[in-house]
Symmetry: C2
Subunit: 416 residues, 2 copies
């Protein structure tokens, strides 16, 4: 049987909301990739009355990954409560204590404080459940692997970069590898579809005969795209869906659309720019988020004010007067203007009403024009996007990147 | 006693990672604001063997807020399992069935399908635990309030906008109000600090005598800032900390720094612009994310390529040659260039090495220059930022916005 796993995150600031946990999704993705989809991701505060039962419950699975609560203060109780829940003695590890003492002495010196203030915390952080293995140290907090007989518990620090580093170390641990060896990594395929509704994709799946024996199919909207994920032996079903959905299947891997755009431009020897009004920089931010984007992405103009549209992007006074800033004509002139001003081969533009204010009966909130312009090719789209300001901006950004992707697909060769 | 609450989110795509849940943090923030900090936020898939015990556990608290799994297909089992866990019969509500049928007939018509295909799903979605109250419909899924005798369960749909809408409806429900009436809304204060390390803030708290009786203090890094949150009667402690931390306390409310910047500019009658290299549009995106920002924010130039820095921002050839694109001088010329090109009173610039490539021994990954320029005032900073590409870009964006905030604080009056 596939081992059961669970993820437990502790942090009072996460229980109070506002701040989003990123460790749970990271660990869930890692575990799923390894064939160990977690049965539960749970967030609790540092109250022992909540944390200890949650640890006990997690220890009923085969692998419990715990994060947070490893600091030197009285609020940091993860290790102590894990020992208690596992029925293990908590013991001071001399070698570990020396290592943490070394780090703490350097901190004390830098802060101009006496080491004596730190000694108690050092002893606390060097105390681990009997038999626990230290897999590395983050600051002064050790990461641990603890075997309880029934379960393997991996204890990781809360700060995400440290958690990721010590997670990699945990994967080298013998007991963790023992659990991994019992996992079955599922075959996975993804078909990414754009420009077709989720229900049309669901219909295509139903008409393909639904899920064959041993295949699990999920359909999910994801950043303006529809993702069809097939787990198990989905090769035949993928073929049928590909035929049914035709050209709307644009990718079969997980790379973000901005990366697909940059690769397509690079392959054609074309440079890229953005001219943004309602998206306010989000298109440029996504293009520049890709490492190495600077060889293809030249830059952008965020033309929030009409003066900027005129001066930087040479949108004509006449167009702005007759059609308005939110119009197909303005979007077209913005894209062409960006190509000229920024010396780019292709450019995409956005102009629209993100809300909550600024809507009229003729031009309601959510109306957005996107336009992509390149050598010998133009694509334009009028969008009516649902949602609040953030949703409209995010959706318009996705639409602009997809329009750029489609434009580049039409341009088969490099110019000149 | 304050009622105990819990949040349970269901969705197999969330258990597989990659996708982050936003409903849990939203509900946690709402509940905390109402004095009902949840004891646990839990995410489980749609497997009944996991979902049913999680519901049972949630029903041991006074208020369980459940989201997801309300659709018409066999995977959507939340309501059925809630009825079973609560020991309530599942009954079809005639009036609700008619309402969902109406919606489904319109969908069937639009898709050109027979209504017969929908009938089973309609009956399923109109089936609720006996005594459950319908608080509204999202698509074809009803939101519910169910009383079990011991607990009150609120059942909400998974899509975040619908969840938020029906959550507001749930707050009007009598049973939910009964739980709310027993909650004690905690007094909360926040001191937001910038430019001081977390350990220095911790020291100031310790020197102030730590947490007085009845006050809970948390110190947390948050988007480049340090937030000190005081729950309970923290007025005196807040005063002591304010004195100790001096000018580094820049705000005592939760508004994002971009909103503080826009308000400061608006109050001084000044317009704002951004000139970005390494942040690639993120500064402009944050400024334009604020509703109503268009009266103050004129726009930005994303000058990724040096040609764009020269042509759009008039950074001199000489500066780029002698100092390089990543230099204090280039940052200064970019900010001044943005003021001129975009006709803005104040502007902020960023230039740096976000990595992972492009670093040298003299200019390593994480080196970023930010510069803010305004009428009669200039501020510049050299930063050495830790983390990966995303972290460097995010931190540089926060630093740029704070520099703009500090610059505006120096400009007391509107110009001219």
């Amino acid at each position: 049987m596939t081992p059961r796993t669970s993820v437990l995150i502790t942090g009072s600031e996460l229980i109070r909301g506002g701040r989003r946990d990123s460790n749970g999704p990271f660990l869930a993705e890692e575990l799923t990739r390894l064939g160990l989809e977690p049965s539960s991701i749970r967030i609790v505060g540092d109250d022992p009355a909540e944390l200890e039962p949650a640890i006990r419950e997690g220890l009923e699975t085969d692998l419990l990954v715990l994060s947070g609560g490893l600091g030197p203060t009285h609020d940091d109780r993860t290790v102590e409560l894990l020992a208690r829940a596992a029925g293990l003695e908590a013991v001071v590890v001399g070698e570990l204590e020396q290592e943490i003492e070394g780090v703490s002495r350097r901190i004390a010196e830098r802060l101009g404080r006496s080491y004596a203030e730190f000694a108690e915390g050092v002893r606390k952080q060097a105390t681990v459940p009997a038999g626990g293995r230290v897999i590395g140290i983050a600051g002064t907090a050790p990461g641990l692997v603890v075997e309880t007989g029934r379960a393997v518990a991996v204890v990781l620090p809360g700060p995400p970069p440290e958690l990721r580093r010590l997670w990699r170390a945990a994967l080298e641990d013998e007991a963790v590898q023992g659990v991994l060896a019992r996992a079955v990594v599922p075959e996975r395929r993804v078909l990414r579809v754009y420009g077709v509704s989720e229900s049309a994709v669901a219909r295509a799946l139903a008409e393909a005969g639904g899920e064959p024996e041993g295949v699990q199919a999920t359909i999910c909207a994801h950043a303006g795209e529809i993702w069809v994920e097939l787990f198990g032996d989905g090769e035949e079903l993928a073929g049928t869906l590909r035929d049914a959905l035709g050209g709307s299947v644009f990718a079969e891997d997980d790379r973000p659309v901005e990366e697909l755009v940059l690769d397509a431009a690079r392959g054609r020897g074309l440079s890229v720019a953005a001219a943004e009004s309602c998206t306010g920089g989000l298109v440029a931010a996504r293009l520049s988020s890709v490492p190495g984007s600077s060889d293809v992405f030249r830059g952008g103009v965020v033309a929030y004010d009409n003066d900027v549209k005129r001066a930087q992007l040479r949108v004509s006074e006449q167009t702005l007067d007759a059609r308005g800033a939110v119009s197909a004509e303005t979007a077209s002139e913005m894209a062409l203007g960006a190509r000229e001003a920024l010396g780019a081969d292709v450019a995409v533009s956005t102009t629209g009403i993100a809300g909550p204010g600024g809507g009229t009966p003729e031009k309601p909130v959510g109306l957005v024009y996107v336009h992509a312009s390149g050598p010998g090719a133009e694509l334009a789209r009028e969008l009516n996007l649902p949602g609040d300001r953030e949703a409209v901006r995010r959706r318009a950004t996705a639409a602009a990147l997809h329009l750029l992707r489609e434009l580049l697909a039409q341009i088969r060769h490099s110019p000149g």
